[in-house]
């Protein structure tokens, strides 16, 4: 018990003396805070990106693409293949007995980011970014039971009507319901906006397949087939079926797996940038923390020595000093987390996805797991930055209590 009382006394002295060295303590807190902010901004970006792609695609939805194509953009699927899949085992049917299969067209068009709109509002001159235009088959909406139309309505088959993903609508100019968009030679009317669980689909434009085929002169060609599965084992049934038919040289995966694989590449890259940067910066902050703590120990040398003189142990000086360092670092960690939260959480960014060659809109997401990593980094800086000065504090000679001029 006595040791705890001692530690409490020394810690109180240490913590209470922080304001006396306000600027030194302040600079440590800010330095640690900046390091944590940089780390968390990158991690929140990676987490947001990952969440967008991971959240895309259900486990019970199969996506079929030409073997070896790796991404929808590269793939090509024929109408005959689509018909074969409609009759395949493992594919769910709707109440009327129609298979829930949607052959889809995937093409790239472009649009203008809201941030890129010039001052005069003339979109013709603005720099353009690639967007995905997806042509849906007749069952395209039925295969996606989680789809929510949040504004307007679905496109009517056989018309130049568009539905716009919610994320895309927020990030890009001129995509409100009622707006006309020029894609290629023809004008398209935006009739609705949809949400789909914060997924990549919300970064897309959707229209009726034949219309898109006309625009791009791609009659009878699709990029992928979406098929709803009857159950967890159905994927195997379906891929076995495809493997046994020489006409079906297709790769079969669940939509969830397809997007998860795409996600991991980019978010890995972001994390691989974020961590080394944060660790390098942490060394800088560590230098600051060590300095602050050494000067703190020097400033309290007489007090500590006096306590030692009247019988306090070296251990209590050690722990008290260490705790001071940890408190400062923790404050920095909390400040960094708050700054990230205020500045970055919920911020939308968009980038060119390597696999799809089009923009994916994502939201920075400061998850508790990400925030925890920032706090841990801060505490590591505090621990390393405190342990050496604490060691010195524990070894202050008692004669220092008498003080020297």
């Amino acid at each position: 018990m006595r040791v705890f009382n001692e530690i409490a006394v020394v810690t109180t002295i240490c913590i209470k003396s922080i304001p006396q060295r306000f600027w030194a303590s302040f600079s440590t807190v800010v330095a640690v805070g900046l390091v944590v902010t940089v780390l968390l901004a990158f991690l929140a970006m990676a987490a947001g990106f990952q969440q967008t792609l991971r959240g895309t695609g259900a486990k019970d939805m199969a996506i079929l693409m030409r073997a070896g194509s790796q991404a929808e953009l590269n793939s090509g699927v024929t109408r005959d293949q689509a018909r074969l899949i409609e009759e395949a085992p493992g594919v769910m049917k709707d109440a009327d007995g129609k298979p829930l299969v949607s052959p889809e067209l995937y093409v790239i068009v472009d649009g203008v980011k809201k941030t890129a709109v010039p001052a005069d509002g003339n979109l013709k001159k603005a720099p353009r970014s690639n967007l995905t235009l997806r042509g849906l088959g007749p069952a395209g909406i039925a295969v996606r039971p989680d789809l929510k139309i949040v504004e307007g309505r679905a496109f009517k088959p056989g018309t130049n009507e568009l539905m716009v993903g919610r994320a895309l609508q927020k990030d890009f100019a001129g995509l409100n319901v009622g707006n006309t968009v020029k894609l290629g030679n023809s004008n398209w009317l935006v009739v609705g906006a949809f949400e789909l669980g914060g997924s990549v689909f919300e970064s897309e434009l959707w229209a009726d397949t034949p219309e898109v085929q006309d625009l791009f002169h791609r009659q009878n060609v699709f990029q992928s087939i979406r098929a709803r599965l009857t159950g967890p084992d159905a994927l195997k049934t379906l891929s076995d079926y495809a493997a046994n038919d020489p006409q079906l040289k297709l790769d079969v995966t669940t939509e969830a797996d397809y997007y998860a694989q795409q996600a991991s590449r980019t978010s890995d890259l972001i994390q691989k940038l974020g961590w080394p940067l944060a660790i390098a910066m942490a060394f800088g902050a560590l230098a600051g923390a060590l300095n602050t703590m050494y000067s703190s120990v020097a400033a309290r040398a007489q007090e500590i020595a006096t306590l030692r003189c009247i019988g306090f142990s070296g251990t209590s000086s050690f722990i008290g000093t260490l705790l001071e360092s940890l408190v400062l670092a923790l404050m920095g960690g909390i400040v960094g987390t708050l700054v990230t939260w205020v500045l970055f959480d919920g911020l939308t960014g968009s980038t060119l996805s390597g696999a799809s060659f089009s923009q994916i809109v994502f939201t920075f997401h400061l998850t508790p797991a990400v925030a925890l990593q920032g706090i841990i980094l801060a505490l590591v800086v505090g621990l390393v930055g405190g342990v050496f000065p604490a060691w010195r504090a524990a070894r202050i000679p008692i004669v220092e209590a008498y003080g020297t001029p």
């Binding site: 600079s27 330095a31 991404a71 690639n130 940067l277 800088g284 600051g288 300095n291």
Partner: protein
Amino acid sequence: MSDLYLLWRNLFRRKLRTFLMMLAIFVAFVIYGVLGSIHYAFEHGVDSSADNRLVVVNKITFIQPLPYAYVGKIAAIKGVKNVTFANWFGGYYQDARNQIGTFAVDPESYLRIYRDDLRIDPAQREAFIHDRTSMVVGEAIATKYGWKVGDRIPINSNIFTNKADGSHTWQLTVAGIAYAARKSFNTSFIIFQYENFNESKTFGKDTIGWITLETDSAAVNETVAATIDELFANSTAETNTQSEKAFGKAFLAQLGNIALIITLVVGAAFATILMIVGNTMVMAVRERTKEIAVLKTLGFPSWRIWRQVLGESVLLSLLGGVPGLLVAGLLVTVLSKAASGAIPGLALTLPVAGLGLTFMLLLGVITGFLPAWNALRLNIVTALGRL
């Protein structure tokens, strides 16, 4: 003994503290050097492409194909000196993750347009033009996979199917290796004969990805671009013609605001050391208040002491920053090799290093200013406690 000696002794009065400061500055300048170089390579790589080169793409997006017939039509337009074209192949080697920028091109006209960017042995060039199943490999790729002239390499496509056997593989012979004639040119590519490609692919016959052309001079760029786009207006494939530079910039911009991210990170790193070093300098000078007062008592003029303190912080900044830049230069070289030419021209360039030195001086002056001012204004009587 000189003022510099005094300054040096003061700087290393507390070796650990000075070392820690140097470490913090070192880290910040490593970050600056690496990120600054990447930024510079991105900006400069695009900037250095020729002024009179235009790119014609499908108006819908550059991923949509153009008819092959456009090449001849564009060549006939007044003001167009040279025309070539390319088609994206989606190439990779062995594993789908080993993607290589692979283009089907017309050998003769392609190498003519890029004559100032690529260096290739004339004999190898001839071999490429005459061997239908050959390819020219950029230096970065040749080095990465150890390919030599004469090697027969299977290149896979994640888009196209080979009519011959229904596979996605084309067997290509290395006819030559192309070297960058200017530093910032990316040599991470493969080019092979369009004729071979066009005849062996199963779909998209007689279409090409984009057309690159050279105008008589940059002055006629706009006229030529307008003429081309008008020529194909209201056709099934309308075009969008812009300078290669603008095209490159627009593509980079799509990746996200790289410049902003780099600025923010470097800014955060500098703000960190500014806090740490600035505060420590104030502390360090406050510690020797009495010594400064003694120097003044001995008759040292205030400006000389001011100069010493400022010199100390500038020296500290240089001692941490210069090695930081050197290490950054080393890292950038390693990174450039590891990326095998994916970021062409990635090196610690003079402008980046020069700006780094400016930042060091600035950092030194800013962190030293307050303590130097305090030293300048220090009153002997109060500082020595002589009241």
